[in-house]
Amino acid sequence: MKKIKCSKIFIFIFLVLMAVMMLVPFVWLIISSLRPNMELLSNPFSIPETIGLDNYREVLTRQPMLKYLFNTFTVALIAMVIDVAVSVMTGYAMLHRFRFRKKLSMMFYVGLFIPANAFMVPYYIMITRMGWYDTLGGLGLIYAVVNLPFSIMIIRGYMETLPMQIMESGRIDGASTNQILMKLVLPMTRPGIVTVCIFIVINSWNELFFANLLTQSDKSKTITVAIKSYLSAFEANYSFAFAAMVISILPTIIVYVFLTNKIIGGMTAGAVKG
């Protein structure tokens, strides 16, 4: 009995160490973001003498950070609506047997492994020709494309775990194909849809490649592009950079704190078939 306890303590210490390693940078980030630049430069790790929100005030007045956050969210929303609609329709159709089902299924699978970055030139030209360069719609469309293979995989995978008898009974009760989808299949696919939505929001919050390529002005810049610009433009003013970073990660952290279980549970619904 004693031996087991001993090993449990070791495991506990190991888990704590891992957590510290992962999270210390964030604590340091938050403390640094509250300190004036001069103090930070002269003595980055001393016990802070002055602490205040000055950096935040400066960053928020100098750059339209809230607009960038809004842009990021809008882009994610556009991608989310397109991807969920397309994936649900595809997943539903793929529940049925037809001639090219296997080939089509293979094509979606290939899509998962083709890095969309490889298509930067064609996408850039397409979006520019359509006059959507530097618009939220253009970037949203590309995000939808980038996330589509994954979202089809998740939603399709989830639909396949649903009991087929339900569709059968729906048909016997005289429901049309559309009704079966909207009234029966769609509500039951909700966990899969939540997974896809969370993934897309997080990916949009992460994405820098296409955001950098397809946006230019404040009206469509996303938060990642704004943060990146701090690396070059404000090289000397680290505390502003830190404050900007905290602003960029705050929304997701707040959402995470309130919806922890939904997010952890939701991220994996459909990703693992039991």
């Binding site: 449990k8 899509g111 083709i114 970055n117 064609p122 490649f209 990642t224 680290y238 990703a271």
Partner: protein
């Protein structure tokens, strides 16, 4: 299902696949035979672009680095995630809290994470050098991202340790293992780590495949970490394929060369797909 409906439902996905995957694929193959700076007339150069890319040591380096990233994913990231999942699975006190903490970095943008680690590695005001000095190893302090030997591992470390999503995917699968099986193994006298090795690990194979797939896909398009932390330097030692393609187009305006890089990235993706597919088949054979 009537054919009419089938076509209607499949139309959007097929439309996207054709317009955003198949047409661009032919397009990049087409462009790859031309010399083009994006503005002036295109000049047909045959396979010249392919020759220049394959003899460009920066491309070879980028290709090699992408492989190193994938190896880090498979050999460090995923085993670490699995180990944490197995440890948390023992329901150590506070395991739910640990799960929440480990997952936290996954909701933060990679750009912000990479930016943060840029400062951690900073030569003069970085957290890492300060810690090293604190424990009396000040002589190891250096500009981690600016020195040739350490730059590539330094860019990979944040990715390797933030295993929250991987861990959670493993834990979800572990939760589906039936209690009967666990009890039977316990009755047979299996100890903690024996349970892990002989009962749990074989049973989470589907989750391993999922994780390999997600992480390989991530490494193939990995752009944010090196772009933010080093811009590919020093001397291109941290450039990945995605960054190579980006630089050739945006900085050098060599669209043809950039497209050849893209084609090789796609080919690498297809090779890896075949590999992972094999892994999946192996899983079913068990």
């Amino acid at each position: 299902m009537k054919k009419r409906y089938l076509i209607l439902y499949l139309f959007p996905a097929i439309f996207f696949a054709v317009v955003f995957f198949i047409v661009p694929l032919f397009y990049i193959v087409y462009i790859s035979f031309f010399e083009w700076n994006g503005l002036n007339a295109m000049k047909m150069v045959g396979i010249q672009n392919y020759i220049s890319v394959l003899t460009d040591k920066n491309f070879i380096l980028a290709f090699k680095n992408t492989i190193v990233w994938i190896l880090a994913a498979v050999c460090i990231h995923i085993p670490l995630g699995l180990m944490l999942a197995l440890l948390l699975n023992r329901k150590i006190c506070g395991w739910k809290v640990f799960r929440v903490l480990y997952f936290l970095p996954n909701v933060i943008s990679i750009t912000a994470l990479a930016f943060l680690w840029y400062f951690i590695y900073h030569k003069d005001m970085g957290l890492l050098n300060w810690l090293l000095e604190g424990i009396g190893m000040g002589r190891f302090a250096k500009g981690w991202l600016t020195e040739l030997g350490t730059a590539l591992p330094a860019t990979i470390v944040p990715f390797a340790i933030y295993v929250g999503l991987t861990t959670v995917i493993f834990m979800t699968q572990l939760a589906t293992i039936s209690d009967d099986l666990k009890e039977a193994a316990l009755l047979d006298g299996a100890k903690g780590w024996q349970m892990d090795l002989h009962i749990y690990v074989p049973l989470v194979k589907p989750a391993i495949v999922t994780n390999v797939m997600l992480n390989v896909a991530f490494c193939l398009k990995n752009f944010e970490y090196p772009f933010v932390m080093t811009s590919g330097g020093p001397v291109n030692t941290t450039t990945t394929l995605a960054l190579y393609i980006y630089k050739k187009m945006m900085n050098a305006n060599q669209y043809g060369i950039s497209m050849v890089g893209s084609i090789f990235t796609v080919l690498l993706g297809l090779c890896l797909m075949v590999l992972v597919n094999g892994l999946q088949r192996g899983k079913k054979g068990d």
